[in-house]
């Protein structure tokens, strides 16, 4: 094996390892989804989904995350072709969209808690906050990782290992988008039906 082939083989192994981590993360979210599904009507006399959720607001959040999933794909393709400027533009767009998404989610939480509908009000709200906030923490960690990747790409001038890191970050970001689609469908759309 030549040195280059060896590096490809190592990256393949790392990519598979990261993929298996993503699958275990799926199981974590499955337990939270199951908890939410079981407790969806346990509102303890408090408000349920239809009274609490602002669907147009959540649709905008969904569109933002979906677009960021597309832009990180563009960043990865640009980096593989060696288009450095384009890579940074797409990465900054992705980062900005991620920050907007996270801010909107925090704003939503603050409004709910401010109105007295915090996680302590009912089992339904506890399950809701746990599920959505776990996704939010993943997004926050993804943003931290993305800033590290941006700095490394810039300082080490697109070293092969850093481009590989960007590929794994892309997988992570797409995965979070898939989880959000299920939160959007099951928690907000189905849970928000009167």
């Amino acid at each position: 094996m030549t040195r280059a082939e060896e590096e490809v083989a190592i990256h393949e192994k790392k990519a598979l390892g990261f993929w298996i981590y993503l699958m275990t993360d799926c199981v974590l979210f499955a337990t939270l989804f199951a908890t939410f599904a079981v407790l969806r009507n346990a509102t303890a006399g408090g408000p349920g989904g239809p009274e609490l959720f602002d669907l147009p607001f959540v649709l905008i959040e969904t569109m933002i995350l979906l677009t960021s999933s597309f832009t990180i794909g563009m960043a990865l393709l640009a980096s593989l072709r060696g288009l450095k400027k384009q890579t940074f533009v797409w990465l900054f767009v992705t980062f900005a969209l991620g920050v907007v998404f996270l801010s909107m989610e925090l704003y939503e939480f603050m409004v709910l808690i401010g109105e007295g509908h915090g996680p302590q009000q009912s089992a339904f709200l506890s399950a809701y906050f746990t599920l959505v906030a776990t996704h939010g923490i993943h997004i926050a960690i993804g943003l931290l990782w993305m800033s590290i990747v941006i700095v490394r790409l810039w300082r080490h001038n697109f070293k092969k290992t850093d481009v590989n890191r960007l590929a794994l970050l892309g997988l992570f970001w797409h995965f979070l988008d898939v989880i959000w689609i299920f939160i959007f469908s099951f928690v907000y759309l189905i849970g928000g039906m009167a």
Partner: protein, 122 residues
């Protein structure tokens, strides 16, 4: 030179895959949203329709964004195993809790408290 063209062609396919995935994802999201907001069907049917659309979008994103099936075969195997575990956890939880609910439905909360203090030692 020939190899270069091959690479170029490959990357064109990848760009196309992201564009198609993006447009299909947006379309399915908006479709589910408008079905729910305009209440086009009774609630029971709408729940299954929204679930169906979510699964369609899952497949779209797996194929066009995560490129499942291309590259390492172990990705597909671990994915299938994860789906199995997820189904056991979600369907199993709902099944057990619904059964419990059904069996205790005839009791009032006071009766249930009494039952638990007498028989379960709680």
């Amino acid at each position: 030179m020939k190899k270069l063209q091959l690479d170029h062609h490959h990357s064109q396919v990848k760009y196309l895959s992201y564009f198609v995935g993006f447009i299909l994802s947006i379309a399915t999201t908006l479709l589910a949203y408008f079905f729910v907001v305009n209440e086009l069907w009774p609630k029971e049917a709408l729940v299954y329709i929204v679930m169906g659309i979510a699964v369609v979008q899952l497949v779209v994103q797996l194929v066009f964004f995560l490129h499942l099936g291309r590259g390492n075969r172990w990705k597909v195997i671990t994915f299938a195993f994860a789906i199995l575990i997820i189904l056991i956890v979600v369907v199993g939880s709902l099944w057990i809790m619904q059964n419990l609910d059904y069996n205790m439905m005839t009791m009032s909360p006071e009766e249930m408290n009494q039952y638990m203090s007498e028989n379960e030692g709680i």
